[in-house]
Symmetry: D3
Subunit: 330 residues, 6 copies
């Protein structure tokens, strides 16, 4: 039977397949009986599952981050889909198709890494290119980058998500820079590359994604500065001279100001052209991914409107007519 | 003698050339003597001028919007450059080189109008293309558009500025849409075209730019809705059927929500993908133009920093080293 | 047995009477059993009802907007009253007393419509009176107005509610204008009449009240402008000349600015005396209705205090002593 | 020669008449020469005056609060009118027409005081009427009330202004209460009477109006509570029993919450119907007076628009056409 | 068996001991069966308890504020600990150890009262010392003070809590004043003593703690002013002359401004050195107690992080390593 | 003649003494004549000076940061004191008494440095003491620290100001920690020491104080992290093992969160007890210094009130009566 992906699941489907487990918890209900709650994911999304009358042994039988074989059925509960499991146990290697659990295949990741190096090596500024080289040739770094998500939840929350986010944003920045000649393309590209690098240390990707202590207490902006300091020292050794002081300040400033507003924890506001462009493009990208995801995952299946989103202060309009009615490529 | 453009003027230069006058005022100084104050512009910018010991006759000798011959000298006053005029009189046609006073030449405007029609006619959605045709073939409208500025002050505050802003933003939107397949390119292009159309009625371009009463009391968002209503009626006549209802709602919603936040007078928040993209791209464009202009016009000529801008809450960094030190194309 | 109205219901009352149904949903509980949830209303208010162990057939047996016969009992749940139904079925016409479900009787509505025309015809300004006539003699419009609620929830959320809100506010505006001679009474009356007209298209009153797509995407402010444009064209035809331009701008400005603050989605702030008066009086009316309703519907029956209302940031004081203790007419 | 009132003065008028002086200052100009600056008022408004090359003796020749004879001429300076005085000296009693300096004549004040007692004695609630009597029969209090302004600047900033504000607002409250039967008219009237009473101690009316130390450090809300406490003790003595506890709390709450929002220094938000009504009506009254005054005093005499008011975030529209064009009574 | 204090309780402990009951409620569950919900406290904290299938008789068998004997067991529910009771009945005097229910023993309270009088009597300013004496020798006041909590919830929510808060803050103020000679120690000490005095009337300590009507409608700031007024009259009688006017204003200003910001309902902002110091020290104390309590009571027992606290906008870091690893005295 | 210090200067004093020059500018007045503007300081404060009819040569005759001999006279201008200079020339070494220009004498600075080392060496935690030692024994660092101000303007804006601020705050923190045993004194002391260290690189102290480019673009929070990283590497070398990871995170977190609120550019909110204490104490110290300075420097010499301070939203009360009237030690 072909896999039913999470985003395709509907109400009252029988389930008998493999998922990636995370956030498992053993909890008593109001009558004091225990149940097991766990998030089950594949590469398309995740669903919350409950197994009633669970035992401590059920809880101990697998770990967060394991692939598990689940039997049960879906149901809609409080406007969202959940899965009532009758059995959850660790999957045997032979039942697993790894491609089901990776948003990005190893080939995707290789392609992205290749495109990253092409874009960085296309910079005309020599000191920046040398600095980029120090990152590209650091295998340990590139490996961690390839595994990092770009966030805990929502868009790009899968291994390689950070790489994908960075490469896509570099492509957009490259196009946009073509329309605004006042922008220094090299600085902008390098800034896009660096702006979220601290997430490699902010987020842990072992046994599901989570914030590290350093991530919570310091944040990826501060962490990226220390990472960049280390690479700058390397680049200086490599080139026999340090990067120009102003170039370094401009790069660090892009990292430090990319959240754009004090209220989002930005220690500085953008004060250079490339810094403001980086902030605005990052914002555009985040908004488009966020809207798309809320529309796609919305539980109001029959309605042209999503539910009300408190943090956005609005509902979103998914549309009434077939997409092809308006315009061609949607 | 070749013209000295406003943006090239420095401290204590002698002036003997033509400017475009606006905002003239006859004012008493603290000793009760009258002086004439007037803004003098060419296509590169404007400078405030004062003529001491002026008479009512001096004040009556020209109108706002006239080209005037000015003699005098520049000086720095309170951190900005001003011009102390010894003579201001209406220019003779033969001393005027019109190209000095137009940011956009007639040829530029023709080119922009042509590019506008190319972009609009490249839409694949037939009803949208029909609607666009109603605008493109309305000569009176196209003529007013070609004269309209995109604002009273700052970037695009010159005849054709609105057309230039709209065409440039359509180009950027077109590139960006290529990186986000979820965006409906046709809707986005048409939305960019329409979003600021109300400025044709919000701003008056007679005798210098100013807000009309309707502009102040209603604003360009409301005015654009009435303009679009009229064209939709025409398009229905043309096509024999109205535009699809949802298409109309999506277009109007883009107009109504393009300021993006309630605090900027947006009656609605963006609720569709194209509406959020329009808002974000308009914002990126405005920020880049604003930063560029503040850096270029800054009076702190020796400093790598602009003065502090209250409304931005920051200084901007113009840079210490030659631009060519960092990157190639700046 | 005389009807028990919703606002009179207490804990653990047996129910066997007719209600107006809306918002019906068939939902699984956490054990996967289905239950039916529906809002039941009469003219005094509404109560949420649940029928356990419901079937698809129960769900299909009536529609939102139907009058249904309900059996069951009330209980307090999480601080509010709910109804546990044992049976819900479509009511027979002969069991229904329509007056129980209309806050306003047809006679009330006729009286309000009559008062509306009296007030509008008492204006001394001829162009305004002509414009008013175009609305008053438009039977289709007057019929829709008579059916429209003034909101989805809370006060005036019943057919005729919009008419009632508008007429009441016109009465208050008329009195207040008497104390402030600087106010132009005619403009103020006409502005009150028009300010919420867009709700006729913003809210749908079929099968319960809901926002239309146009209502969500554009809002009643924008919709009212298009409605007024149409009537202005009619009035011009009628009178042989258009309304004075400034009168039109002042009317539109009152519509456009009546929410008073950008944060409430007002595209413009009030800039005329009548616009600020309209905003303030609308606000007073809304606050008084809101406070009254929260006090009347409060579930803390024994307490002199209502529960805490997050959006108001406070509890309200219903009072300890009998109302007649303080003052006479309460 | 009949008096030219301040609001009638234009550019370059010769002045030779009496004014009320306040805020006098002796200041050096940038060359170290001294000049005298002083505000000159009559009952219609005030104008800033300067006398160049003044001596210490000029400064000492009159006091703030004196009526002075001024010679000089007006001029527009930085968008506002000022008066350049050539002579300022204390006026002789025989040149003064006191009516020119009082917005309210003694007869006006008597009429207002009479209307105040009528309104308070029309309350049906006996304890409230007794309490009111304690204020009305306190001659010292009534005398201070008759002299108090309702503010330092702007509307009602003249002796009797507080009385006028309170009586007018009681009239409006009385009308509005007629349209909202849920409001307790007696409580509302008494609350309106008390809400600003603390201004009698917050503002000093000797030698021009100013805040007292107690006014600055405590504010009129706190001061009114102490004043009411004293009168409540008197009323208890008079009646042989205290006012009902809840009535007292409701009155104090109206005082304490009448600013309506924390950001305006309100220690509590309105929690009763009469408290919210008081806040809203006080607000309506303040806004109408403020708009009217800004339109009347605006220096842009030829423009239909006032200048931009930073604190309101807008310009106001004074109008283009004659008032009689629109409506009758304006 | 020694008592298990609330803060020591874990998951699934059997309970058979005495608690202080408050907030009892009889509620139906979704099946219409009744259960009893009640908060159970000892001096270390409180826990929510439920008794399933309760009767009206169970509900009536004890009152809020009673000490009750409870049998049952604990369980974790929705991230917090709750107690499922099988029996709740009024405790016999002989089973009660009062010290278990008082955060402060009578001896503690005596010690605090003694320290209060030492600190107040150490003031060098005679009028302030006289005023303090009026409070210290008012036995009724001192008794109420000794019983008052400093809040309804959280820190110092127990009899004597207000006294403890005030004395502790006086100690801190005393130390800090030593480092800032510009601070007037006497004024600061007296201000700390008075700032929260209104809580004696704002909070009722009968049958559990709750806001009084006066507390809700007026607040402790307003109430303290009336209390101080009474004592000032006494002090005047005692000393034969009133306190210096400025001293009184400074004291009242400290009360009136101690919340520091308008948004926290402060009618005035601190305008004197002692007022700003009082606000800042009160804030420091509140923040430290709040953080400490959230860390101590956090339900995430295994995690170095507390749960996310919406009102603080953050999680708190409890720490991973043993406290003694870092520094000595923790 | 003994020096007249800046804070002692009054209106119309003759001046003939040495000052520290900064911010010199040559500016044209409105008539095109040049004048020299410069700030003149001694250790008590600074005053703005103008020399009319200055020449380029006057401007070139000294540098910012030079000690200059000034002749002229003071005058009050626009509410503040200014100095009209008739002569400004570089001072001869023999006319200078260096102590007049240093808020802190070398002896003061030595005493502060000694106290710093005592406090740091009193920490019981060995790793923290080792880290402190790396700073204390770094002569170059200690020398820069001894020269750094704590800000550009206002309190502590003099060489050694940073050292003074840090030592004073450590003393306060030490006292306060004694009253809150839950605080880890060592962490808090070390955090206070480190929190503003980045100012050594944020502010330049050559030729007057100014922000460095790195200071503007990155800020002292980011700069301190890099400085601490370097010292942590040294401490690891010294001790043979790194500091415990959690200790490092806690220290960095204190630096990163010490501004306390996002709106002040804090990238993280305080999440530990010591971080919240540091923020609150730093705030208390800043507020007290700020209030004291505004009261001391206020130009309204005769008034008990300072002028209105826009950024504080209030006036401050300096007081009417002699300080000794209230309390003893003021």
């Amino acid at each position: 039977m072909p896999r039913r992906f999470v985003t395709d699941l509907g109400h009252q489907e029988n389930i008998d397949q493999i998922f990636l487990a995370s956030q498992k918890q053993l909890r008593p209900n109001r009558n004091g009986n225990l149940y097991l709650q766990v998030d089950l994911a594949d590469r398309t999304g995740s669903i919350s599952a409950r197994m009633w009358n669970a035992q401590e042994a059920d809880y101990r039988s697998f770990e967060d981050g394991d692939l598990v074989h689940v039997e049960g059925a879906t149901q809609i509960y409080q406007g969202g889909l959940q899965l009532i499991a009758t059995s959850i146990c660790k999957a045997r290697p032979d039942e697993v198709n790894l491609a089901d659990f990776m948003s990005l295949t190893p080939a995707d990741i290789d392609r992205l890494a290749l495109r990253l190096s092409e874009l960085l090596r296309s910079m005309q500024d020599l000191p920046l290119r040398n600095l980029a080289e120090c990152f590209l040739t650091d295998d340990a770094f590139m490996e961690r980058l390839a595994k990092s998500p770009a966030g805990i939840k929502n868009h790009h929350a899968y291994p390689g998500g950070l790489l994908e986010h960075v490469v896509n944003l570099m492509e957009v920045a490259d196009s946009v820079a073509g329309h605004y000649p006042i922008l220094n393309r090299d600085l902008l590209l390098m800034g896009v590359f660096l702006h979220d690098m601290g997430k490699v240390e902010e987020l842990s990707s072992e046994h599901g994604f989570a914030y590290t202590d350093a991530g919570q207490l310091l944040g990826h902006v501060i962490l990226a500065i220390s990472m960049l300091d280390a690479k700058l020292a390397q680049a200086e050794e490599l080139a026999g001279e340090p990067l120009p002081e102003e170039t370094v300040l401009r790069l660090k400033h892009m990292i430090v100001s990319h959240h754009g507003e004090y209220e989002f924890g930005s220690p500085k506001l953008p004060m250079t052209l490339e810094a403001i462009a980086l902030h605005q493009l990052d914002n555009l990208d985040a908004k488009l991914h966020n809207f798309q995801q809320l529309m796609r995952d919305d539980a109001n299946m029959d309605s042209p409107w999503t539910q009300y989103h408190q943090n956005l202060g609005r509902k979103l309009f998914k549309g009434r007519v077939e997409a092809e009615r308006v315009g061609g490529q949607k």
